[in-house]
Symmetry: C2
Subunit: 148 residues, 2 copies
């Protein structure tokens, strides 16, 4: 499956978050054989749990699926640049690659506020790709417009 | 209950982690009325889940207990300086105060590698107190000695 299609799957998941009144963010984790092993969408408000970000849910599902906390050769596709917590969780998994569809100037810690995935003091570094997807931008703008 | 006693409870939790072969780290969350509303110990290896740090488990339990993702006037007592992921999760909760018993020169992101809880660009800042507790140091040293 093409990378573009992976982000489209993540965007479909993001829509589910908005149905629950959560900020529309979705994420999937893909292994080295192009299998999707984890999916998640933001459930922070629905579950009243601040750790229920799309990325964390996808990580937990992927680790359960492969029965391993290491996601060594995997890639995460997420519709928004990961926050501090999610970057920390991704580095914990030793994930290979992070792809995100929109920068987050307020909370993003891959490129916007910090370049934490490249910090050589940590015991792992992850590659990342920022590939602007206007559907993610439009979805978030619509959500905040409706809820402002 | 005195703050010292809170850390002793966290240390007792840390011991439970070691029984499962996990690095002995424990954490509790205390509300403004001195009630313990969340407890956790590291279960990363036991659950094969990299997000199962003591602090994350305590956060999830506290939020469930009060049915709110905000832990506004709460304090977390943790036996080791929180890592990147856990600092991010704690800032998500808007927790007031972080108390830790031992610095972590490899992964600590409250004071050792970064001062992330004080970054004014985030939408919340947390106070922190580092109060060395030699029991935590001894417990971790013994664990790594036995498992090296």
């Amino acid at each position: 499956m093409k990378k573009q299609n992976y982000m489209e799957i993540a965007l479909k998941l993001a829509k589910k978050a908005a149905i629950n009144g959560d900020v529309p963010i979705g994420a999937i984790i893909v292994d080295e054989n192009d299998n999707i092993i984890g999916r998640g969408f933001n459930k922070k408000e629905k579950d009243k749990d601040p750790t229920q970000h799309a990325e964390i849910i996808a990580i937990k599902k992927a680790c359960k699926k492969i029965n391993n906390w290491r996601l060594l050769n995997c890639t995460i596709y997420t519709t928004l640049e990961p926050c501090l917590m999610c970057v920390g969780a991704l580095l914990q998994t030793r994930i290979k690659h992070i792809v995100f569809a929109l920068k987050d100037s307020k909370f993003g810690c891959v490129e916007s506020l910090y370049n934490l995935t490249l910090d050589k003091r940590f015991n792992h570094r992850s590659e990342y790709t920022y590939s602007l997807n206007l559907d993610s931008k439009e979805m978030l703008q619509s959500f905040f417009w409706r809820n402002s």
